[in-house]
């Protein structure tokens, strides 16, 4: 077959057809990229050419209940440089140096960094007005001013764990700062521009300035003055007893608002990085769980009264122990309190009396009241890191567990739970949700954006029963183991508590958590206050019981009520003696023949205001002077002779 010209032409035509097909393919592809899938490519483009310089928002303040600032952001203008936009780095560095000082070389080095943006450290941060004006006037390309803030704490360590701390980016790390980080943070603004591949702004394109939205102010329920009273009391305790930890909470029982919340050890949030993590990160008032001890008897009493299992005038005989399931559970007082009314049982904090109440209630009722008072679950306070405590598993509660629970052993609770339970008794029987935050306020307009109303969880006991318990607690202070909390005219009711701390699976002999919970005035309580002192170490001689914790609450309630202009009342139960005028006599308990540990525990529980001098060495008290039953003025010294065996019982 010859290759004719016709065949050549046919083949050229085929080539033409192929090229036309190719051209159609190209146009089809252009339609795909530029019309059909254009959104995909445009998103990529925006990502590529839009640059953002973030502008931080001013963080909201944290205020006390009077609107006074406890934390604020001291903000000042700082220089942001976008190195790629700066053509003449030498000149820019020179002009900036003339205004802010430092070294020209240092500034030039920063301007030459291969970053999208740099702060001119250290002199280009937090500038004063004059410098800001001068820099604005220069209108240097690539040099911007932004507001930059630092958290300031005008009251130092005031309510440090409540306020919490912020990290390097200004983000909340603990406390209110963490819990309400979103609210406080506001919204970052941005400076957006269209950039070329080197990050330089392309001329004649639009800049977008998105202004930052400042964060809201968070107003707390904390009363600064009462908080300061609380912290002063803590300082005194620490100076006297060198404890491991101290916690104080003061609340308004009617609204559930927390007026003061203080812990030791504390810190200044401005220097939080120099303290251990557990100090700035743990708010003991809501985190720590421990055996409450006798303060828990209030719950047992309220339950028994509500269920009409007891009448306070009823008599009870305490032989010094109570037999449960074959075990003799001892009263803290050797030999017992003998015959007494149930009111005396409460005043004396007599364990057998409360075991009896527990038995009368039975485990179902007692535990349902414990739960109704809010124990065993979080109170829901708006602070991070709340503990919930531990209750016995109901299926495993036998008679022994029921007995110990009735007087506050074998349960584990947090300080805030105790305060809320006490508040229910103080306010007439309603468990409140604790509130630490009062409102969110717009810092620009001063407008209240959100208010937090008191939240009632539920009714636990009737108002009448609550009133009965309050009266009993007043007489604990006026006539019983809480005597050291008595302040004339303020009608304080309360209860001491002593809990042994389990160390390495055993109750330790020396490690106690001494606590007191009180309210005032009992006829119409305005305040509930709680203190817990973990491992007090009295200097020289041991000092017991109410001596440590009760006066703290006495001082705190009296000072606070006075500050709140609550009028004093003379309607209360009079003290057996007049404070500061009559010599106050205390009965010396019987300690000889017991182990030293037992003796210490007895002293703590009794609220006896006596000092002890120790003679000799050994685990047992072989003799004491003066003898049991002797009446001594408060603060007198009892001498204990120690030996290796409980011989020669006195």
């Amino acid at each position: 077959m010859r290759i004719t010209q016709t065949k050549v032409r046919r083949r050229i035509f085929l080539v033409l057809l192929a090229f036309v097909c190719g051209a159609s393919l190209l146009i089809g592809r252009l339609v795909h990229v530029q019309v059909l899938a254009v959104q995909f490519y445009n998103e990529k483009a925006v990502h590529l050419i839009r640059r953002n310089i973030p502008l931080p928002a001013v963080r909201g303040e944290i205020l006390d209940s009077a609107g006074q600032s406890l934390v604020y952001t001291a903000s000042a203008a700082s220089i942001i440089a976008v190195p790629r936009q700066i053509k003449d780095k030498q000149r820019t560095a020179y002009l900036l140096w003339k205004i802010i000082g430092g070294t020209e070389q240092g500034i030039l080095k920063l301007l030459s960094q291969p970053k999208l943006m740099v702060y001119i450290r250290p002199r280009g941060r937090r500038l004063d007005e004059a410098k800001v004006k001068a820099i604005r006037a220069l209108r240097l390309p690539g040099i911007y001013l932004t507001e930059e803030g630092k958290r300031e704490y005008p009251y130092g360590d005031l309510a440090a764990q409540v306020l919490g701390v912020t990290g390097g980016e200004g983000q909340g790390l603990s406390g209110i700062e963490l819990e309400f980080n979103q609210v406080l943070a506001g919204q970052k603004g941005a400076l957006q521009f269209v950039s070329n591949a080197r990050g330089e702004e392309i001329p004649q394109t639009n800049d977008d300035y998105i202004p930052p939205v400042p964060g809201l102010d968070v107003e707390l329920t904390l009363n600064r003055q009462i908080q300061q009273f609380a912290q002063r009391e803590i300082q005194n305790i620490v100076a006297k007893y060198a404890p491991d930890h101290v916690t104080i909470i003061v609340a308004n029982p009617n609204s559930g608002q927390i007026l003061a919340m203080a812990n030791y050890p504390t810190f200044n949030p401005a220097n939080w990085r120099s303290v251990p993590q557990q100090v700035y990160n743990r708010n003991l008032a809501i985190w720590q769980t421990f055996e409450p001890g006798s303060t828990f008897k209030i719950v047992t009493l309220a339950a028994a009264l509500q269920e009409k299992k007891v009448n306070l005038k009823e008599r009870f005989y305490d032989p010094g122990y109570y037999e449960v399931a074959g075990h003799k559970i001892k009263c803290w007082k050797a030999g017992g309190h003998g015959s007494q009314s149930y009111l005396n049982v409460v005043e004396n904090s007599c364990n057998p009396g409360f075991i009896q109440l527990g038995e009368r209630l039975g485990k179902t009722q007692l535990f349902s009241f414990i739960r109704a008072f809010g124990f065993g679950k979080k109170t829901g306070i708006t602070l991070p890191g709340e503990g919930k405590g531990i209750l016995f598993n109901p299926s495993r509660v036998g008679p022994l567990e029921l007995a110990t629970t009735a007087f506050g052993q074998g349960v584990s609770v947090t300080p805030i739970q105790q305060v809320m339970a006490m508040s229910a008794i103080a306010n007439g029987g309603i468990l409140m949700k604790p509130e630490i935050v009062k409102a969110f306020i717009n810092p620009t307009t001063g407008q209240v954006v959100k208010t937090f109303q008191p939240v009632a969880v539920h009714r636990v006991i009737s108002p009448e029963v609550a009133a009965q318990v309050r009266d009993a607690l007043e007489s604990v202070v006026a006539q019983g183991t809480g005597g050291a909390a008595f302040r004339e005219g303020w009608r304080i009711g309360g209860k001491t508590g002593t809990a042994q701390v389990v160390e390495n699976g055993h109750y330790s002999g020396a490690h106690y958590i001494v606590s007191f919970i009180g309210m005032a005035p009992v006829n119409h309580p305005q305040l509930v206050a709680y203190v817990a002192i973990d491992y007090p170490r009295p200097k020289g001689t041991p000092v017991f019981g109410g001596v440590i914790a009760a006066p703290v609450i006495g001082n705190l309630l009296a000072d606070s009520l006075q500050y709140l202009n609550v009028p004093p009342s003379l309607q209360g139960i009079p003290k057996k003696y007049r404070y500061g005028i009559d010599p106050v006599l205390t009965t010396v308990p019987g300690l000889a023949g017991r182990s030293y540990k037992d003796a210490v525990r007895t002293m703590l529980e009794s609220g006896t205001i006596l000092r002890v001098a120790v003679v000799g060495e050994g685990p047992y008290v072989i003799a004491q002077a003066p003898k049991e039953g002797t009446k001594l003025p408060q603060g007198s010294t009892v001498r204990l002779y120690l030996g290796p065996a409980p011989s020669g019982a006195g």
């Binding site: 077959m1 010859r2 290759i3 010209q5 065949k7 050549v8 032409r9 083949r11 050229i12 035509f13 080539v15 033409l16 090229f19 036309v20 190719g22 051209a23 393919l25 190209l26 146009i27 592809r29 252009l30 339609v31 990229v33 530029q34 019309v35 899938a37 254009v38 995909f40 490519y41 445009n42 990529k44 483009a45 590529l48 050419i49 269209v194 950039s195 070329n196 591949a197 080197r198 392309i202």
Partner: protein
């Protein structure tokens, strides 16, 4: 022979329209770079204008020179081209630009022997195949000699190396051989050999494989080998239907390297949109049509083959270049005829159009 008529006026018309679009786009695409490198926004524009003018003169002259003159000197031209291709490989004689030792010249003025060899080879093949048209029936006599010369040329060019030029030369050669009446079974066999050779080339230099991969999924290599394609596709997407407007490209702001050369079509599509891009593709299609029409109507086989080859070079470059810009093909480094900033290659391309015009003068029906 026949009386000379006036050439097909559509060929120069379309060429000049494309040239004008090219000069405008080169200016728009290069201002940022020119300002950056030479502190003269018109640097590339002025040079493009100069080469275009030179090319237009050459085009006019060639349209008046009888194309059959090339048939007479075809072997001499071929030998000269091979000589230069060898010369450019010698260090210090050939200059390295963009990774290839492909340039002969002084300072910024330079020519690429491969550009000349491209046209030299086509003239040679057209002459060789038209002398004894029936040789194509035999593989040994019809296929081996042209492919041997092509292999020699491509072999020298791959030593520079320049994959793009090689691809264009291979493509145009295949078209001419096909048109000259090669048997289909021979072409299939050659295609198989070509694929094997391509595989061997990739195996020899891994960066070629990377280039191949990058076009399949450029987003996987956004910072390295996928960069060009991504930037190009973003430019196209920005342009959408009607474009961002002449002069308003953002991709030319240092995102696309050398936006005035291989990626001029991306900038054009960004600024003038789908409409601008489609118009350019259609103009090229018209030019290819008129070129092949001249081939079909040429009075002799040499004219037919040469017109096919010259049009083929233009077509193959258009398809490869726009194929790369639209992400259909791996990045090879081929300019878009008449539009890309190109120096001597632009002048040479216009010269080729002049030859095409001359062939169209002798059209008979």
């Amino acid at each position: 022979m026949q009386n000379t008529k006036s050439p097909d006026f559509v060929i120069p018309l379309v060429t000049v329209i494309l040239l004008i679009i090219g000069v405008v786009m080169v200016h728009s695409a290069s201002t940022v770079l020119s300002e950056e490198h030479f502190h003269d926004a018109f640097y590339y524009f002025k040079r493009q204008l100069m080469w275009a003018s030179l090319g237009l003169i050459s085009m006019y002259v060639m349209s008046r020179v009888d194309y059959r003159l090339f048939a007479r000197y075809a072997p001499h031209l071929m030998l000269m081209c091979l000589l230069f291709l060898g010369l450019v490989l010698i260090p210090h004689v050939g200059q390295v630009r963009g990774g290839s030792r492909a340039w002969l010249g002084i300072g910024t003025f330079g020519i690429q022997p491969s550009e000349f060899a491209k046209f030299g080879l086509l003239i040679f093949l057209s002459w060789f195949l038209s002398r004894e048209p029936d040789r194509m029936r035999s593989f040994r006599k019809g296929m081996v000699p042209p492919l041997g010369v092509m292999a020699l040329v491509i072999g020298l060019i791959m030593l520079e190396p320049d994959l793009g030029q090689s691809a264009v030369i291979a493509g145009a050669t295949m078209i001419v051989i096909f048109v000259a009446g090669a048997q289909v079974k021979h072409l299939v066999a050659m295609a198989a050999v070509g694929l094997l050779a391509f595989a061997a080339l990739i195996a020899a230099a891994p960066y070629r494989l990377a280039r191949v991969l990058s076009f399949l999924d450029p987003w996987k290599y956004p910072d390295t080998i996928g960069y060009h394609i991504i930037m190009s596709l973003i430019a196209l997407g920005q342009g959408a239907l009607i474009g961002v407007g002449l002069g308003h490209s953002t991709q030319k702001h240092l995102y696309l390297p050398e936006p005035q050369t291989d990626f001029i079509f991306a900038i054009l599509s960004e600024e003038l949109g789908l409409i601008g891009g489609a118009v350019v593709v259609l103009l090229f299609t018209v030019l290819i049509w008129r070129g092949l029409r001249a081939a079909m109507r040429a009075p002799d086989r040499f004219g037919s083959y040469l017109a096919t080859g010259l049009t083929g070079v233009i077509a193959v470059q258009v398809f490869i270049n726009i194929g790369v810009v639209t992400g259909l093909m791996p990045v090879t480094g081929i300019t878009l005829p008449f539009l890309s900033y190109g120096g001597s290659s632009l002048t040479l391309m216009l010269t080729a159009v002049g030859i095409l015009m001359n062939i169209s003068r002798y059209a008979h029906y």
